[in-house]
Symmetry: D2
Amino acid sequence: MKLTKLDKKERTVVAVGNVMIGKGLVVIAGPCSVESEKQTMETAWAVKESGADVLRGGAFKPRSSPYAFQGLGKKGLKILKKAGEETGLPIVTEVLDPRDVLLVADYADMIQIGSRNMQNFSLLKEVGKTNQPVLLKRGMNATIEEWLNSAEYILREGNHRVVLCERGMRTYETYTRNTLDLSAVPAVKGLTHLPVIVDPSHATGKAELVSPMSLAAVAAGADGIIVEVHINPEEALSDKEQALNPEQFSGMMHKLRPLYQFMSGLE
Amino acid sequence: MKLTKLDKKERTVVAVGNVMIGKGLVVIAGPCSVESEKQTMETAWAVKESGADVLRGGAFKPRSSPYAFQGLGKKGLKILKKAGEETGLPIVTEVLDPRDVLLVADYADMIQIGSRNMQNFSLLKEVGKTNQPVLLKRGMNATIEEWLNSAEYILREGNHRVVLCERGMRTYETYTRNTLDLSAVPAVKGLTHLPVIVDPSHATGKAELVSPMSLAAVAAGADGIIVEVHINPEEALSDKEQALNPEQFSGMMHKLRPLYQFMSGLE
Amino acid sequence: MKLTKLDKKERTVVAVGNVMIGKGLVVIAGPCSVESEKQTMETAWAVKESGADVLRGGAFKPRSSPYAFQGLGKKGLKILKKAGEETGLPIVTEVLDPRDVLLVADYADMIQIGSRNMQNFSLLKEVGKTNQPVLLKRGMNATIEEWLNSAEYILREGNHRVVLCERGMRTYETYTRNTLDLSAVPAVKGLTHLPVIVDPSHATGKAELVSPMSLAAVAAGADGIIVEVHINPEEALSDKEQALNPEQFSGMMHKLRPLYQFMSGLE
Amino acid sequence: MKLTKLDKKERTVVAVGNVMIGKGLVVIAGPCSVESEKQTMETAWAVKESGADVLRGGAFKPRSSPYAFQGLGKKGLKILKKAGEETGLPIVTEVLDPRDVLLVADYADMIQIGSRNMQNFSLLKEVGKTNQPVLLKRGMNATIEEWLNSAEYILREGNHRVVLCERGMRTYETYTRNTLDLSAVPAVKGLTHLPVIVDPSHATGKAELVSPMSLAAVAAGADGIIVEVHINPEEALSDKEQALNPEQFSGMMHKLRPLYQFMSGLE
């Protein structure tokens, strides 16, 4: 594994707006998809009130079927930006196409490379040419080595503001949507200087497993989590079974920050 | 999933000697294999001093190759029993053959069904006929549903003293030996009344990942962990890369019990 | 991979009754389970008429749930033996418990070690002590290396009459029951001197895929196939979706033997 | 699975230059990467002489590491085009970036979407807007359902000239590079009207397994194969272990076409 850019000694801290990923616990929350201004705004306020640091939401959605909801596109970006400005939360959103990188960079504080695009090398190079923070999700069938090589693609273009995100592997198990590989957290912390966060929503696909897996992620040493929260999960246009409602999110947050504090004291 | 015996309401506590699994945090530790009286005794005292509750050690070893060390057999059982008596720790050891169940039950306080035998139905029925506590490891390719069905085989024979153990799934990832599925912990806690523990040693195959994964297991709600400790890992006859030495184990224990206390306060 | 017993030069031919596995194409067919004398006898005659060489049928069934049909046991063995005697077909049936090996050897011409027991080392050693032909199925999560090591366990006890059987791997794909790994056929032919057959029924779990996969197996160099045939698949007590009815089996046989002849001419 | 465009009755035949995929056996062969004019030209003539129908070769290479050979790009396209013109073979080559689709369409007779880009929806839509034949490889972790949905993305844009290509799944097995899923061939033939070919080179990663898996693919009903051939595999800049040399390719072709003829007679 030749990882020229990943082997420096001091740990990287990635600033997303005024939020420092890699220093303290960072919680990113929000809806899977931006569905409307009302839904996004209400969710944004709800997660902010419960202590989220960054707002997530999808405007361009990678969907297996061309007949599934594909996201609101540019209109979605505008809604997100407004929600970010009103609540004061930096926003992160996914980009699917190298031609949209500058557009997304214009609206978002952090650009997400999703699981399906972890080896979309054109896209990696394009976000590598910006100086925008990048959230690089692990591919659902990617080895740790491939994931780090994909990070190396971005760093090599000059953009060192990369945050890794473990989001579950595709395995034979069908009870959960994917299999969350928490051992990847201490593994990549040992192999690189980049911050690592965990997405328990996509990994488990089940709302009731999100809180225990978030707590486990923090205990394993993660720098943060990214979770799906929806004002009304039952009406969500995508991923309804894994979204927390605001009360569930708030309940989880009451455990998560104290746990992080406790873990920090243990070192 | 028809799980007649697994759906009662109150949680099961399994007594192993004077240790209660399902009530407080239980730590099972010891060598992969019983190699000699000296090695076993020294390891037993070392793990006891660091606060282990139960001693583990293999006398019958399931090895892929017939030319690999197969364990000391009955001689190993005697060494284990002696180590248990001297240190006061209950012992758990694996059985591979239905014809050895009564023999193992004679020496051990708890019988382990290993990953390769999770669907060895003759063996499950045989341990189900004893009234010995059983540690049922999840098969390395077993779904949660299959794992619970295997537990049901044991309970159906009349033995309700079953503890489940998640020990990692076989996946495409080669960086770790297996992929630890911590989401299985809250999943089976929700689906059954049985205690669940985690084996981070076999799951990760790497000593440096054992401590973070043990902490994560506790945060995910596990009732305990089972870890490999060797007086001198570099000289171990099996699994040398994943065994903790006594100092590493002691260091981990200084974090693990406080974390469990902290988590209990969060509920 | 230390495979002392598997590296001799000339290819092994395993005689099962008067059928030579490893010389010509051998077709093993019959029901998943022996359900009754009538069903077994009718199926036996049907597969014989279409050209099967060996009769298969399960008396001891390894079922995930203790509440599923577990097979007729000794009664099933008797039915099988009778069907074998009347039709003149040698019979192969699975053994699950080392204590049943001599019993099964008494009734069957070939003993099957099923996928779930590929690493049941007690059972491997026990069949290794007989001089009965053994059909060793690959574990559904076993690597080729582990599979060959399991064969080595049997040979090392003195029984060299082992036939390997590829039966599909457990993967993330849910369209088929398992994923048939036909590349294992030329791989193990290159690595060992043992005959190799293929089970397209358990591998695919779909009757309509059995014929194309059987043809593909022959083209890949397999020494035979083992397929599930039921007089009336819709009423089968197990595996109804993958069983061929006698007409489907007959249709397949009209292609399979000519293909084998053709392939032999190509060498 | 909503596959509006894939459910028509008559089978699709895709013309690539004067070659008809879906009618007769089509063999696509050539180097993994276009490395130089000499290497490409010599390989092109060699595969043509042995009876290949279409020339393959990579100009844009998707490599896990940014430090690995990335292909010759436009220069590679020019070399390929020249090789196609001189030998009279149509050419197929991979595109990685939606912005390169028109460029590649200008040089190539067929555009390949590689495994890593099977869910690069921007790229799918872009090739869907051309009227160029498309070779859609199955993702190494894609289900059959996802693969067909990706085809649907292309057809929905108006381009119906899609050929599916099975190229191996990522599994736990490490003996082969991937696990070739030949059951996918009859499965997608049953589910759609599109031609299906097989890539045994990437699937197995071992030259000695390419010929048996090609024969098996034909027996399973594939419309063709795509194989890597290199003038001198040991000096190849990528995938050297899986490339056939011209003699090996020629030897395979002497079996493959007769087998296809034979199989056609069986229907």
